[in-house]
Symmetry: D2
Subunit: 385 residues, 4 copies
């Protein structure tokens, strides 16, 4: 049995997803095989080229036509964030399983509608929090769940980038609220929030702070990935999202949380990092060294206590046997392959994948609670949302 | 000309100060020489032993007698925090120069009284924020002041320890509000706040969160440095200070700040660390590797941009020429030697040392603003205090 | 135009090569596209399964038949080392371009015959020194070639593994001289030697030392990648290769070299690391952190001199634009994709790829010179070989 | 009871020793107290100033007069290396205990004479291999001795500096064979050899290689520590010592050794580093981070194996209780304090200190064996020497 995929979107995430679909059967041959059936995008020529380059059987420029097809099992949504909701509602109605990139939607309200639609349709639904699927993060999950870190006291996390540090970097769509929904908070902070949920648990309340350091930028001529071109002397437009958002949080289990997302941290191309301190041990992770996890145990012999640098490529580590011998590392793109392994496994086993739309909703609730806490300058309980 | 010192306190800080007074003339022969005249403490026997061991000419058990002496130029206060104020007021009245360990006092009100008294007496006064005097921190100061980091966007700092992680660790004085004034916040966070003031500037407003994870502990039998003994089966008492305090802050210059102090971070014996991100570069510091500074510049050639690990032991670095050849490191105790170099230099040059009592007051204002923000669950402006 | 590939071998390297052939057109669409035509191995069933899993159009169990086919442009040899020569000679005779895994052959004599045959046939030939194709290694090459490191004084390199540290680890083929040709020296040291040639230049003379720490091991039941199973109580056989080989070398340009390859370095799953010191700067590389390069320049401002951690994922770095945004890392397998990019580009541009069989021969000459230096306990000149 | 010290030499090492004598009684009050009686040097004015600055009771310009005094118990020799022998022989004859800086002498023959004289005189004698006395190195010793690392397979060590990288750096005495005896080999390599002896055991045979990269330099006008001044346009003299020396070694217990000492490693101010791999674990040390030791154990749970960063400042670590709380580091100078603690303890306990002159002789034997191996281009057995 295989699963025929229709994918909407073909840029940064479309490339990462395509690569995952291609690699999955080779490295995880026991999983259901995703068939790269149709890739869809508004620009006919560009999507045709992407189809050819990425290995999709067909190209399509109308997503409604795609969803209407009978021979498609999965709809993969990685179009810009403002399009997620409408597509997902239609796909759910059509009974397709849905993989949707994060952020699930531009608002909590929209995200909830999407979850409800998916649940009513009885389909499998997944939100693209890919960082969960680093072997080192899987190891953290195992250490926490098994109690080897004890009771958790602290979670601190920061996602630091610097790609818009230059005041003349152009006003790309990620800096426009109506398309992106949010800036560093929704783009980067969302990943931290999901990791917090996954690894530590639910949040009770939050209070935040944000800033847009550069308030106007040259209009963008062109954008690819995170790079873009624009004329510094040309017309400028308003940046309508946050450049940085920080917040404090209290977890339901009593742990204290600290979160920071910024695009103004010079020298950090993409530092997605967290630390957890528990009563029996600690872990530290930095995605720039994604194969590694630093681990500390209070139970170590007293003269050799210290953070260990574990390279999570041993047979005992998640996914490692599918890849290369110990010490031979993997990269960013592998998180997507593992993510789609979870998705296809969940379909095969007839269970919801994790993270599902429910996790996307939960993340969105925190994002909006933080925004409200900033607007109203007060602690906001997640239960308010 | 030399300066005759009377020092009140003889434990952890008394030892560090004594060592500094002894080393100063050897490594900085051009500075005024502090004469180790009198050491003072309530326990006659113990202070006598300390005098002999640390090299003080005389021991004294009554601090009022010490202050009354004509042959003492400097009063060094490193007794427990609850004694600072009374001693400082008396010393100022007697016209002695005063070095006072941090926290300056148990309350902002007290700290202000001390500053006023010192200013009225026309003496030199200094607060013991020793971490400023790491060569690597001096390098940060130089980079910031000269504009080499550009406009500052972010300051994030954390002081992480784990010495009370064990729930049976006894209820030492540092865990009692009436003596210590504060827990991790005043003990560790105070250092971070001072570094923020020194390196980035004043804060506008703050909001915090704290927690006492372990609310009762065995009564302490004995304490030395940060270690102590107690019976886990004996009587217990209430912990009246915070185990951890976190807060967010907005600087007057627009930078965003994040601060965390905790004694519940397993694996961190004493991680006193900060990062500053500016428009032209970033720096990272961790006191456990105090000889090093990581530095990033946006102006580096584009194919070799990255954080540099600078070992601050070259002739171009502060204090380095007094010590050992490049690459030969110094330690914790050296920060005190440099601190007293500033103190004696200030006396010699007839100027106030930095950090003075005014800096101690400024730090105390932030500490209390954070406490108020926690109590009242709202942002608190420093100007309210 | 595309290139039809016939690949002989289907295990660890066969998997890595297959992945590279699949990924190449997607990430480097302007390169010639390799067609995955035929995979070949002796075990009909296993090779059939590999064909299906890895995506080859056909499976073949007789390599001579494969070579005899007219519709094959490239022969990719990753069968065990003892089969390389015979296959390569036949492939050259048949006019196929050849990619051959390292070590090129079991002896220098054999390697030279292979090179001669390839040159006489006028085909393109390449040796699989994949580590050259890490972006960070490419950056080193650029820094050296452009003179930014100045005159090179030192090259020190070590390839440390620990997979046979357990004395009961079985006697796999890699521990048998008649199949593997060599132990750590030919397997790991060969990579270091090639990097030395590539980055610093030719060697003049060498002297070495080796050891087989564990001289007998249980016979192996089964082997996959670097792991294997065997019964510790069953029959044992002699280990006929080196567990560790170290050597010193003098480069023709006057630099001094130090090389170490071992499989007995506890804690090192696969540390492939080198450092180069020149008159104007230094670089350090460790393949376990393959996206990073540490770089030092003597010309940096004197107060901020230090090794920079460059993450080689910026647009200015080799291959980076084909992959993900800055800070999003790649892994071990990507070196093979870049390697086959060089191979197909060389065919397209009608030039020899680098490293060619000539580089394989040069590496083999050093390997044997070291062996001779060990046997005869004297410095051996490469020109003797 | 105290010990009256007469110290000959007052520059870099004289300063380090003076500091150690001053600090010892304060931090190790139970040890015999060294009395800083007489400091001796040829330049009357300079030595008088040193006496005053470092805290010596008297200054003396004639070392023979010093040795002739009855009121001196210990002679501390840190004059230039070419003066060691004559002074030591006289001091031994006079029945003084002797502390001598490394290298013990300019030749093995001289070193042996010194050892014989010391043994015949029945005095305590010590050689100044201070790096043994880092807490982290003490931890290595404990791990090796207790068997926690198992059988040792590899010792690799490198001492890298860059202070003479500039071809115009002047011809200081350390670059002149008649005064210094040796270059990087005797200055830096000697420390590595002593650590090898201390931590792994005796060497059987060695083979080396060396180079003087810059063969002529401007004559030196002035030298302090490792810095110096000279005119690049003035007269030049020949460098008569090695800029770099590397050698391979076989230990008597079967371990393999690799050693490198160089002053031409750009970016390394003073990297004194080694790694030991055993059958049960490994350790890594770098003196630039002297408070840390990286430790790996094969017995760790399989999913959390990795090198631990141990900060050797806990109560379980050597010397730590004398200093500061855990996580509060010490520096280069502390190795001397611990070294003199061993010296005075040995005197008090009437045993030879370690390392004694015998260790100095053993180190010298290896140094000369390496030199002979270079000259004669062959393996040289230590037993030949």
């Amino acid at each position: 049995m295989s699963l025929r995929v229709g994918m909407i979107g073909y840029k940064f995430m479309g490339k990462a997803h395509s690569n995952a679909y291609r690699a999955l059967p080779m490295f995880f041959p026991n999983a259901l095989k995703p068939e790269m059936a149709v890739i869809c995008g508004r620009n006919t020529e560009a999507v045709q080229e992407a189809a050819s380059r990425f290995g999709w059987a067909e190209a399509e420029s109308d997503w409604k036509s795609l969803i209407a097809r009978d021979d498609i099992d999965i709809i993969d949504i990685n179009a810009p964030s403002d399009a997620h909701k409408e597509i997902a509602l239609a796909a759910a109605k059509a009974g397709k399983h849905i993989f949707c990139e994060k952020p699930l939607a531009l608002s909590l309200q929209d995200a909830r509608e999407m979850l409800t639609a998916a649940e009513e349709a009885g389909i499998k639904h997944m939100t693209g929090f890919n960082y969960r699927f680093s072997p080192a993060v899987q190891l953290v999950k195992k250490l926490v769940t098994s109690g080897r870190l004890g009771k958790i006291y602290h979670f601190r996390a920061w996602f630091l980038q610097d790609w818009i540090l230059d005041p003349d970097f152009p006003l790309v769509w990620r800096l426009q609220k109506d398309i992106a929904g949010s800036g560093s908070h929704g783009d980067l902070g969302a990943h931290l929030i999901d990791l917090a949920h996954y690894l530590v648990g639910d949040l009770d309340e939050v209070i935040g702070m944000n800033e847009t350091f550069i308030k106007e930028r040259p209009l963008a001529a062109e954008m690819t990935g995170l790079s873009a071109k624009g004329s510094k002397d040309g017309p400028r437009g308003e940046v309508t999202v946050d450049d940085a958002t920080l917040f404090l949080a209290r977890f339901s289990n009593g742990a204290l949380g600290s979160f920071e997302a910024t695009r103004f941290a010079a020298g950090h191309r993409s530092t997605n990092s967290f630390e957890i301190n528990g009563s029996l041990g600690s872990v530290r992770f930095d995605f720039e060294r994604m194969n590694e996890l630093e681990v500390y145990f209070t139970s170590d012999d007293e003269d050799v206590q210290g953070f260990r640098r574990v390279v999570a490529t041993d047979p005992s580590h998640a996914y490692a046997e599918a890849w290369w011998p110990p010490g031979h590392t993997i990269g960013f793109e592998h998180t997507f392959i593992h993510e789609f392994l979870e998705f296809t496994n969940a379909i095969q086993e007839d269970r919801q994948p994790e993270p599902s739309f429910a996790d996307g909703v939960k993340c969105q609730a925190v994002l909006e609670a933080v925004d409200r806490s900033i607007e109203e300058r007060r602690w906001v309980s997640i239960s308010e949302m």
